[in-house]
Subunit: 277 residues, 4 copies
């Protein structure tokens, strides 16, 4: 037996880890349950007769915490979910069985990085900067790629560098946060991508001091277009490597009826081509 | 730019989902915090001025719950972790920073399925059956594969079919559960695999009525050999497809210092070869 | 300044602790989130510059867990809560603001113990035994007390002794559990008590093998009469002391909009009279 | 049967509720797991065959959250707990079995309110003000009470009014928070009180911008003297009523081995005397 995929894997791939570490106190949205972790049992607490012991964990978290994906059930507009289902009725029973995160197929598909500050000659987009369709066109051209049906598009704003500075800096409640608006979301919708991600907490542009009062890109993508949103990605290594096209891998936990899932997405590239890239 | 990996992906791959759904009441070990999920906000609770609303989740769980991976920090023997570190000292601070689940590199590597009941002419191994090195040899031969350094080996016992029957059946506290013992673990260690998985709750053989009083395969793999263990896999579709060699994908959440992580592993195969297989 | 209450307290009171200990693995209903506790920080993890350290806790639990009180919002009948409010509408927003547990006034009022097995010449009522109005009359007479408006009535079945035997014994899923039925609940309603409690997990009679399929006493008390229900009480010490009349103290946590609260109720008696009693 | 306590209760008592409401987003220390509440089941989700339904809760919280009591196990000094036990060893197993919150006896005993801003002619003590022994003496004298062995002393700083202003105001991280220091704690120790409480998040004085870097009053009370600390009390109604002496009621949850418990303490006074007071 031979497998073309395995042949490439065996020849060597470079894996870019796009997921952020999860720890107590990490930057996260205050709208969602805070991440907490503790060890109910530590080594040294008890030892079995055979000399073995097992430590374990208690985990509490929201699902829109850490690097995560939004299921279509996450957002409704005017009382309706994507596809027109009544949003209130869909949640009866405490689980979104039609559009919950368990309905997201595992992703092993083409991914594209659009490095917006790079084409704008910046390290990082300005706080509350709206990334425009022109910016997306320019980044696409600069990368020498196209964006098409079924792709996953990762939009770098540069804001991800603030993750290590803590919540006040990364959440940008005072300053606003850069990202696409309704127009940039329309650009993604028109290209029929499967998912779109960013290196910020809310994917889209947040005006200064406004918080999440209005999320037009979420509406366009999740409700109108049925496109998943991935947030809090770490795109720095990928950008530094100038790797604009890759195999994107994402496997949401199969949380029945949940509105999202923490994830650890990967960008994978064959080693030979990566050298040429 | 061209990428050999992407070329194969674009030509078509078949994805086998090896992760079980996670839901309140699913079979899980009573040694670990029970999985609970609730929606703090549902659609219909509040609507923003722009007509939008967002639903969200509160999640409580152990990390050795659902399909999951054991970090090396999970088990100690005679007070020591893999590599000889003092197990009690390693947990100071409430996180295992050296051998926690965050230290597991994302896996995109060769995987092999060993279908033990198939080579034994059974649908499912008997409760508390010890899968022997001979069984593993036979399954390897029948599959026409070899097992080598860096592989991930998935051992099917057939017990996974009981997951849908509920906790009493799947946990097998009364009946025992089939799996490898110390000898089968030694077989894996000798082949220098990176990780080993099974379709049962505890990976290894559990004698009837004994529970987890002694876990020799955990000791051999996690403590002695530094090989990760993956539990509660769904191997049925893969076995039915007789797909014995594939690209195995697993991305543990980057839970800093935790002893395990729920995961959703994949087996991926190029479509053309899969047809030939 | 002088206070008649304080004068009695200072003269000496005997406190009966009616709350059960709460610990991982204690008997609780599987319908509610399991109680879990872990220490995120232990002494020895870190020490401040001044030599001090603080340990703390992470707690996960349902509210109908351990000794607890049911708020009126806990149960609805035919879509309505006590007082006729629409039960679905009342929960909009994820909190029951009108009839949640935060609306229960702290209780410092007359309590009465009705020891049913004692008057029936038994240590413990039979599994699935229905405590009848006659039983309640007999217990009242034997205690030499009356039951009236504003009282809290604690009905002992003797089943509480099984708490220490673990969940299988105490929950009585196979055997059933003794308690009042609709008729006994009517007896309580007719006396206009404020709250009624028992030493079992569900307060009322549970037929063998039926679980919580039907809970008529909950309907009568919570929905029809607006009488709170207290469950999993420890009434053994009170019964042994033959203390049938006392000051009952109960302070639910002020959990905004929750349907119940774990509690630690007390029966308090002046020491002098307790000697006479 | 007659009971002097019940006679007073039946004659009428006034209950002052000293516990704060608990809700998602309430002010709490970021050092402890955040309070979260959700309804896994709401009315309207499912209805039993008999027309009944039950709603329930999922609760996540630290124990030093809301109005709460500190067990002696909460704090260590130089590696030792109150009484000299090794603090690290005491936590082995993940529970403090000797000095955990379950070892606190229910309190039904004399309580005294010391209204410090009232005697200083203020509405509220200044941020980071240290309440001195002289302040405590003056407040005692003004109240016309004495403080003695076995009492519970509640020290009002006026800061509790900020609870409703939200976390930034109430936590006072920037401003500091008023309270006793080591000297005030010594004053309490010398009087052999059982517990001491305040209307602030950390009981003791917090210098501006210092947070919890040093907590000398915790050391004196919890470690040296074995006196419990109660935090985040609501003392406003009691102060307005000028009720300086009362029966104090507090029943910590019996959380085995935990370092604290949320509570809902009461001040209770006989109605007749309250009118005279």
């Amino acid at each position: 037996m031979s497998d073309a995929l395995l042949d490439v894997i065996n020849a060597g791939v470079k894996i870019f880890d796009l997921g952020r570490p999860m720890f107590v106190g990490m930057p996260q949205s205050p709208n969602h349950p805070a991440f907490w972790h503790a060890l109910p049992r530590r080594h040294g607490d008890t030892v079995r007769a055979d000399g073995g012991s097992a430590a374990n964990d208690l985990l509490v978290t929201g699902t829109h915490v850490g690097t995560h994906i939004d299921a279509l059930a996450h957002v409704s507009q005017d009382g309706l979910l994507h596809g027109g289902a009544d949003a209130t009725a869909a949640g009866k029973g405490g689980r979104y069985m039609e559009l919950g995160v368990h309905t997201i197929e595992p992703m092993v598909r083409r991914g594209v990085l659009l490095d917006v500050p790079a084409v704008r000659g910046l390290d990082c987009c300005e706080p509350s900067y709206e990334i425009t369709p022109d910016d997306l066109d320019n980044a696409t051209e600069a990368a020498g790629v196209d964006v098409g049906t079924g792709d996953v598009v990762l939009i770098r704003s540069g804001w991800g560098r603030r993750f290590s500075e803590g919540a006040a800096s990364y959440l940008g409640t005072e300053s606003g946060v850069p990202g696409v608006g309704a127009r940039g979301a329309g650009w993604l919708r028109d290209r029929h991508v499967v998912a779109a991600g960013a290196d910020t907490i809310a994917f889209e542009q947040l005006p200064a001091g406004r918080g999440h009062a209005s999320l037009p890109a979420h509406r366009v993508l999740l409700v109108e277009a049925g496109i998943y949103i991935i947030e809090a990605l770490d795109l720095e290594e990928l950008a530094t490597a100038r790797r604009y096209e890759f195999t994107f891998v994402l496997t949401p936990l199969r949380l029945l009826g949940a509105t999202g899932s923490p994830v650890r997405p990967l960008a994978v590239a064959a080693t030979t081509e990566a050298r040429d890239g």
